[in-house]
Amino acid sequence: MFTYLLRRICLLVFVLWGVSVLTFTLMYLLPGERARLVAIYRWGYDDLSAKELATLRREIGEDLPFPQQYAWWLGRVARGDLGYSFVTGRPVAAEILARVPATLELAVAAFFFAALTAVPLGIACARRPGSWWDNLLMTGSLIGVAMPNFWLGLLLILIFSLTLDLLPVAGSGGLAHLVLPAFTLGAGMAAVSTRLVRASLLEVLAQDYITMARTKGLGEGEVLWRHALRNALIPVFTVLGLQLNHLVGGTVIVENVFGRAGVGQLMVEAIASRDLPLLQGVVLFLAFCFAGVNLLVDISYTFLDPRIRYGGAKGNE
């Protein structure tokens, strides 16, 4: 178990390093001189003299060859210094951290909304496949999967905010501001997961060990909760983990639709204003979230599936 964790964490570090190379290279390859961009934000103009330009280039490290630039940047990142935003001049790390709570709130709310609807609905469907509620929910979930979330978001604003005037249109704030974005972000995930819980549970209920549990005289409830569900949730966990990554990506869209001041919105702002250090920082941060989520999902497996926890060790007669 411990070596498993250690191996996974080493892998995580390696993945992050790969991401850093990739993002840095992409930013480096972007056309335009960074020194001129800095100049515009600092002084409002970029027709610098050759000497001014050289000084500025040295200041932001643009005069160094690529490998050295990368090493210089990586060294600072390793110490937690992501550089300074061109636009505001504040540290990138502080800019990102200020936006994390809003995004985290949204992602967590969407995740719990999805998980807490998908599991019970999936169970209900799997217990009576072909029933009217099964057909209804499967059709509904198909629509849910197919609906793009920016469109769903706008639709919800139109209905609940503008027509019914029940919830605020946009902005961050209390619980009322969270309802529509969380629903928008979680709907697709809830739909996919409901289908998955249903399929997985149906497969498990057809296994021999379920019949065996019944031969012991266990009731249907015990068979479902103790024997079927834990096995059925293993593949559900895998996909929920993958979906969580989509969720991180989805926050970018949903935050912009609902005007929530989160990391996703920050990223779009950084792109719009060509704020390269900020963009680099946000991409690296999102990559870190992706990798971290995957690690957490893999660890949570080991609690569900002893075959992973204890490897393939076989006893001897």
Partner: protein, 311 residues
Amino acid sequence: MSLLVIRELSVDFPLPEGTVYALSGVSLELGEEERLALIGETGSGKSVLAGAILRLLPAQARVRGEIWYRGTNLLALSPEEMRRFRGSEIALVMQNPASALNPVLTGGYQVREAVLRRGRLAKRLAQGKVAELLARVGLPERAASSYPHQLSGGMQQRLLLSLGLALAPRLLIADEPTKGLDWSLRSQIVQLLQDITAGQRAFILITHDLAAARYLAERVAVLYAGQVVEYGLAEDLFSLPRHPYTRGLFASHPARGLKPIPGMAPVLTSLSRGCRFQPRCGQARPVCAREDPPFVEISEGYFVRCHRCFR
């Protein structure tokens, strides 16, 4: 009085490709502490019979006839009433232990769960009972904390047997308990089955293993294509089999010359009139293709379904 009386039991499965007639008119009796071996080739309906007794067949199965267990017709019970019989009165040890054990629960948990069916026990008491059961089937104590994938095939089979014994059932049904085990393990399991059944409980052994059947059972029923074709005391049946199918089955055994029965078992979706074994039978007469052979008691307690055997 008999413990179990099966009368004219028929099971069929209506499937899109056609109805499968898995069992047709099976009648058997089992006394208290009597041990019966059900033998026959794959697809003859042996496991379906076990599933029918415990009422654990798939929902689409159509079951007709009567299964009387100590004066109760199991087929007439409500699902909840039937549940009470499972494990405590009649226990089934399924085939393929590797898939019949839940991969995410420890061996001890799966045994304890069966033990606790009879009502809550103090934790200490339940643990003692589990240890006792594991010892009974010859498993080391560590099997309680092991997951199924950590146990060998023989240990998995033992664990499955301990589940069956958890509530000391009056009737134990074991479905191919020696399948897929090597020779020495097989004899160990046969010995274990002898230890846990002889003189203690009624036992139905479903098997291809003729030697195990002969050793463990007092009575034998031979199934062919969903029908009992021969049924009687084991010593009579093994020393002088009457039905041509039983003779063919014995002759095909490796120890007796490995002579296969010609032809294939019939497809159970399209059954024609007459004896079901007739197309493969070397001694068939015109009457065999015309009329269904009746199930006739040719001597006291010995039944055969064959036109040749009583004309």
